[in-house]
């Protein structure tokens, strides 16, 4: 199970898309490299060479003693550890924007965690916090060209690494990545029982939100309104979003692509005619309302069944694309939208 990659962070994804002009995957993929050893830019062990290489999924760390100083590379990981009762051991986090999706009382608790870096998790800032464990919801939290620490750099600095990883292979059908990460993390951190309980809570939330059956609803995921004449960037089959949509009673219309991000031509999109559209918030600067309005007005989507029947729903990317305590909420939001009758 612990092979490929897990979900990325919005800024990095935005960079990937913008810079390459392509829909680049930064989430789960097909690289199935069990990393017996750390890898990074200039790994000296012959595992990797070259800057900016994100590590393959690092093995579960073996800790001689429970970690006392944990750094999380994103708010999603911080929230999971907090739910496990380990919040007091977190000495700092990066990417606190993941907290935004939480209800006020939980967000208030999470907001107390010191923010080392509002961005990706600068290597100096992370190492300066003197962590003995660094946790991320994605292998892409480690070793980016944008200055995040590589796994071997952290090891050199005396910190172990724990990252959520997804299995390689076909389309994601569920959210077992999340529950597995939660239970794995809990075992590593010596709170296995709390891990089982949290995983059960997440699973329960997912189960209660599941779709009612029937023909799956053709669903498109977008993070911004498609630009005229350009391919539409959406979530592919290996994205965690596909698992959530499947559980909600839908079928990702780009499920047949074996990448996290897929690019559909306007013609293909029209031919596949989505019956529902999930709009990811957290990538584009617009408000949710403006984003939805832009998506609905997009020439390529304006005539779709989803727009005509008013099945357009906004879901924060932080709870849909990566392991999160709130994955169940994402499923519930989508399921409610899919069940909506035409208005």
């Amino acid at each position: 199970m612990r092979t490929a990659h897990s979900s990325p962070k919005p800024r990095r994804l935005a960079a990937l898309v913008l810079v390459a002009g392509l829909s680049l995957s930064a989430c789960a993929g097909e690289s199935a490299t069990p990393a017996a050893a750390p890898s990074s830019g200039m790994d000296m062990g012959g595992k990797k060479a070259g800057h900016g290489a994100p590590p393959a999924c690092p093995p579960l760390p073996r800790l001689d003693a429970p970690p006392k100083r944990i750094v999380t590379m994103d708010g999603g990981a911080a929230a999971i550890l907090t739910e496990l009762g380990l919040g007091d051991r977190i000495v700092g986090t990066a990417a606190p924007d993941f907290f935004a999706a939480f209800p006020p009382e939980k967000k208030a608790v999470l907001d107390r965690i010191p923010v080392l870096d509002p961005g990706q998790g600068n290597a100096e800032k992370v190492i300066d916090a003197r962590p003995d464990l660094v946790v991320g919801i994605s292998t892409y939290s480690f070793g980016g060209f944008d200055g995040t620490p590589t796994v071997d750099r952290l090891a050199q600095a005396g910190a172990k690494t724990l990252a959520a990883c997804k299995p390689s292979g076909g389309p994601v059908k569920d959210l077992s990545v999340t529950t597995k990460f939660v239970t794995d993390a809990a075992k590593v951190l010596g709170v296995a029982e709390q891990g089982e309980q949290l995983a059960a809570r997440i699973q329960s939330a997912v189960d209660s939100a599941k779709g009612a059956g029937g023909a799956p609803v053709r669903t498109l995921v977008v993070s911004r309104a498609p630009a005229a004449g350009q391919p539409v960037v959406t979530q592919g089959g290996t994205s965690l979003a596909t698992g959530a949509i499947t559980l909600a009673g839908g079928k990702n219309i780009a499920e047949d692509t074996t990448t996290d991000f897929a690019s559909l031509s306007a013609e293909e999109l029209v031919a596949r005619d989505p019956q529902a559209i999930v709009v990811l918030s957290g990538f584009a600067p617009e408000s949710d309302a403006d984003l939805v309005a832009a998506v609905r007005a997009s020439p390529v989507l304006a005539g779709s069944t989803a727009v005509r029947e008013n099945r357009v729903v906004v879901v924060p990317q932080s709870i849909l694309l990566s392991p999160s305590v709130l994955n169940g909420q994402a499923v519930a939001t989508i399921a409610a939208a899919l069940r909506k009758t035409a208005t």
Binding site: V19, S25, E30, T33, A49, L116, E124, G144
Partner: protein, 355 residues
């Protein structure tokens, strides 16, 4: 009656070059020390000095809290930046002399694109770990070498490669190779590979580590010395093939030798830093504006200015939005362009001739 604008000499035309080079070298070294002391994490200057002294000159004591940040994260990055900057600038000087075109740089000849294709091809097919540490540098160099061979062969007419045809062939090949990179990027479904490819497109010093930094130092250092040794002959080359021949230089042969050196330089620096633009194009022109077109003067000044620009560009990249890092390409332009434009305005009506 026509009037002719008085020709002003380069700003530092009368300055003794060894003296100027010495001052610039001190400036580069000072900048490097300062740059090692600057970063998202504030480290007391005394602590930085102590860490550098301990590692450079030996000494007792256990590594302190900031030892890893200063010596393992910042120092190799700053050193690598200096040598990459010097290497790119000198590659630009040599390319401009080789093509007799002040707009020449390794990108124009397709060498950077060739290096990128070599690296990206390895990343997206067999993986970047096959030969261990040297895999990507070797692939990048092989790509640059193939591109150089392609340019040389395409530019040949009547048994020799003319400068104009080299530029045309280089630009065409660079476009083709850029397309190949995009195609490889689209084809791969491996997100890890895609992330690595992104590095080649953007350029970054963020992953610098000592072993490759030292390898880069040695290779670039040797090539800089070789280039400096041939600076006098560069002056002959820019006179044109006939002029060079009249003064005893076999231009075609020397151009081929230069192509090899530029390829080695480009392959080496691109291998460790990705594609960093601007330096190879602008720094040589800046040097000529400052000290004149004589390559014995402009080449060492270019190397040192290139080092200076990249050290500060990378430092700015780390600091401007700290702790978030900016792509270095933005900063090379931000640091270099104002200086270049200032010197251009102060110089003799923008004359940037090669001879």
């Amino acid at each position: 009656m026509s009037t002719v604008a008085p020709q002003r000499s380069p700003l530092l035309a009368r300055v003794n070059i060894p003296l100027l080079a010495g001052v610039l070298l001190l400036l580069v070294l000072g900048s490097m020390v300062l740059a090692v002391g600057l970063g998202p994490v504030s480290v007391p200057p005394g602590e930085v000095a102590g860490i550098l002294a301990r590692h450079l000159f030996g000494g007792g004591g256990a590594p302190g809290r900031y030892d890893f940040i200063v010596w393992e994260l910042r120092a190799p990055r700053v050193v690598e930046g200096a040598f990459v900057g010097a290497g790119l600038a000198v590659a630009g000087v040599l390319t401009q002399a080789m093509t007799r075109n002040p707009l020449g740089d390794p990108y124009v000849l397709g060498l950077s694109s060739g290096a990128a294709v070599g690296a990206v091809l390895v990343i997206t097919t067999i993986g970047s770990a096959v030969l261990g540490l040297v895999t990507l540098p070797a692939a990048a160099f092989a790509g640059a070498l193939l591109a150089a061979t392609g340019v040389f062969l395409l530019a040949r007419a009547g048994g020799r490669a003319s400068p104009g045809r080299m530029v045309m062939a280089g630009i065409a090949l660079a476009q083709l190779l850029s397309g190949v990179v995009s195609f490889l990027l689209l084809r791969t479904k491996n997100p890890e590979a895609q992330q690595q490819v992104l590095f080649w497109l953007l350029g970054s010093l963020a992953g610098a580590q000592w072993p490759l930094t030292l390898a880069c130092m040695v290779l670039v250092g040797v090539l800089l010395v070789l280039s400096a040794a041939g600076a006098g002959r560069l002056n002959l080359l820019v006179l044109g093939d006939d002029g060079a021949a009249a003064l005893g230089l076999h231009a075609a042969r020397f151009r081929l030798l230069l192509l090899v050196v530029v390829t080695l330089l480009t392959g080496t620096v691109v291998a460790v830093s990705g594609s960093i633009g601007f330096v190879g194009l602008v720094v040589p022109n800046l040097s000529r504006l400052l000290v004149g077109a004589d390559h014995r003067r402009s080449l060492p000044v270019s190397a040192l200015l290139g080092a200076l620009v990249l050290v500060w560009a990378d430092t700015a990249a780390r600091l401007v939005l700290a702790p978030t890092e900016l792509p270095i390409g933005i900063l090379t332009a931000a640091v270099g362009v104002p200086v270049f434009l200032f010197v251009l305005r102060r110089s003799s009506a923008g004359v940037v001739g090669l001879s």
